[in-house]
């Protein structure tokens, strides 16, 4: 897919959001409240080693935590009619979890505000890797992720930015002298939940399109739980002592994409057309991407 996150895209997404949120929220609330069960779920597909089979094509679902839908984690929500922090910011599904808010250190908050006024700085607008958890926290219903899994790894192939994470499940430690956009992911199974520890970030990635950010001290703990054969509950806890005064919690679901659909190619850098849309309206200098 070509990357064209234009204002038109927001409008479409907003409509989709409004249409879906009413219906989807109740189902999701029920799922989330139940949470992952401790007793082995016999209805789940499993690999020969007994681990839940996360494989398939998955799409972040609408519904639930609307604060994440379009815009930013801290409640800015284009879909809810808000922008630049002017949204209602409630976001959460009725009865669902309250949306998380970032609690920045004063210095980091000033930086966030600066970036918010200069959105053309968003590295994803330049087709850079989105980082974690932004790779999964793409606008709902837009870019799927293909999961391939064996006894040694769980691989996430993201359509967006053709981002790839091949996560080893051998309890190996993070490397030294390695700093990456997506950090370094090491996975392990806690019962039926796939837990990923992500560290070694290079500090360049943003968390959303609204200037929320992390630096190289970011640390993410992700939890992937197959709560039924067609639903993965995704939870992430982001800590970054030099940016946040308390951890940021994130939670949404991935829904299985019907088997007759496939992942497409996302060539962004190789045909980027959206950066101008960021730069002009945000008063930034116009940057040409060749």
């Amino acid at each position: 897919m070509k990357a064209v996150p234009t204002p038109y895209g927001f409008a479409v997404a907003a409509v989709v959001c409004v249409l879906l949120s009413a219906g989807a929220s109740r189902t999701l609330t029920a799922q989330v409240t139940q949470g992952p069960s401790n007793s082995p779920n016999k209805t789940l597909p499993r690999l020969p080693n007994g681990r839940p089979d996360l494989q398939g094509l998955w799409l972040k679902s609408a519904g639930g935590f609307q604060g994440l839908f379009i815009g930013s984690l801290d409640g800015t929500n284009f879909a809810a009619g808000g922008a630049r922090g002017g949204g209602r910011g409630t976001g959460g599904a009725r009865g669902g979890p309250a949306p998380s808010r970032y609690e920045y250190t004063p210095e980091a908050e000033a930086e966030r505000n600066y970036r918010r006024r200069n959105l053309y700085l968003d590295p994803e607008a330049r087709c850079h890797l989105p980082g974690v958890p932004r790779a999964l926290d793409q606008p709902a219903g837009l870019y799927p992720v293909q999961i391939i899994q064996d006894e040694k790894y769980v691989a996430l192939l993201h359509e967006a930015m053709h981002d790839v994470r091949i996560i080893p499940t051998d309890n190996s430690p993070h490397p030294k002298n390695y700093w990456a956009w997506d950090g370094d992911s090491r996975g392990r199974w806690e019962g039926d939940t796939f837990v990923v520890d992500v560290s070694n970030f290079n500090g360049r990635a943003w968390l959303d399109m609204e200037g929320n950010f992390v630096d190289e001290n970011e640390h993410v703990l992700e939890r992937f739980t197959l709560i039924d054969p067609d639903t993965i509950l995704y939870e992430a806890t982001i800590t970054d002592p030099t940016v946040f005064v308390k951890p940021v919690e994130m939670r949404f679901t991935l829904k299985r994409v019907p088997a007759d659909q496939q992942i497409l190619e996302y060539s962004c850098l190789e045909g980027e057309r959206s950066l101008q849309n960021y730069t002009e309206e945000d008063g930034g200098k116009k940057v040409r991407v060749k």
Binding site: R126, Q149, R204, Q262, V287
Partner: protein
């Protein structure tokens, strides 16, 4: 007693004799036995290698990290030694002269590309390498597999290809950088049909190219525990006079702990993108981003 003697007789005949001629005879016999063994062994390696299976007991197991050892990425038609890279022969096996059978106008375009290769090569802009080029770039790839799934992740510009079974037709509605791949197993050989490749791609650093009519049939065949023979038969009626085929070997990367690392290019002050290793401190934002951690501007 008699039997024991019979079995021991050749041994005794060869070792206990003091006569030179007889020793020579024994040596010839021994050499013959060795030669026969070697020939038999040689015949066995001619037989197709049988790869291990995935846990379904059926699918050949191609999983692993693989990398070519040749320098075809410089020029698949072969190249002289330069810049510390040894000279290399063409990896094109058909036609026999190792040259791409360009149409005259296309050949002129290739020469033009060659002259401008330092700046015009799409890979120098950190674009995805396309097919088959991604296979023989000088960085590894990883084959991800499970029953019913086959994908290749290329370290180069974090490109990946999800191979779809050929039971459904190509998605050929647009031109992509990594194309649309449909595959099937022919015995233990994976045969992949690739279309929908953009004409912005090059095949190497020397400006060899194709049009959007480019069609590739890839064959992946394990020839040993640690080798995959890779073959790509290509055709393009716009640019070439006839189909041609290249062949190379992918070697398993066997170092313990080896893995695909992140390859994301960074822009320098002039807006030119460069590959930066994740182990290079320049990759850290705090290394080159002066404003953050200082009082915010504006």
């Amino acid at each position: 007693m008699k039997n024991r003697f019979l079995m021991a007789a050749p041994y005794r005949a060869c070792t206990r004799s003091a006569r030179v001629l007889r020793q020579a005879f024994c040596s010839i016999v021994a050499a013959g036995i060795v030669a026969a063994f070697v020939l038999t062994g040689g015949a066995q390696t001619q037989k197709p290698f049988t790869p291990a299976r995935l846990w379904d007991g059926k699918t050949p197991d191609f999983r692993g990290i693989w990398q070519v050892r040749d320098t075809a990425y410089v020029n698949i038609e072969g190249h002289p030694g330069e810049r510390g890279i040894a000279a290399a022969r063409s990896i094109i096996v058909d036609p026999a002269d190792g040259k791409i059978p360009y149409k005259p106008q296309a050949l002129a375009q290739r020469q033009e590309n060659y002259r401008n290769r330092a700046t015009a090569d799409p890979s120098s802009k950190c674009y995805q390498a396309g097919v088959p080029r991604a296979t023989y770039v000088p960085t590894p790839l990883q084959i991800l597999q499970s029953p019913g799934n086959f994908a290749i992740v290329y370290q180069d510009n974090h490109a990946f290809r999800v191979f779809h079974p050929d039971t459904r037709p190509h998605f050929d509605a647009t031109d992509w950088w990594m194309g649309d791949t449909r595959y099937r197993w022919q015995g233990d050989t994976l045969v992949a049909d690739v279309v929908a490749l953009t004409d912005q791609l090059w095949l190497d650093q020397a400006g060899n190219f194709h049009s959007t009519e480019f069609h590739v049939v890839e064959r992946y065949r394990m020839t040993g525990v640690d080798t995959i023979e890779y073959e790509a038969r290509t055709e393009d009626p716009v640019v070439y006079t006839k189909p041609w085929t290249l062949r190379t070997i992918l070697y398993r990367v066997t170092q313990p702990g080896a893995r695909i690392i992140e390859d994301e290019c960074l822009e320098d002050a002039n807006g030119v993108r460069h590959h930066i290793s994740p182990s290079d401190p320049k990759n850290l934002l705090k290394s080159d981003y002066s404003r953050w951690k200082k009082p915010a501007q504006k």
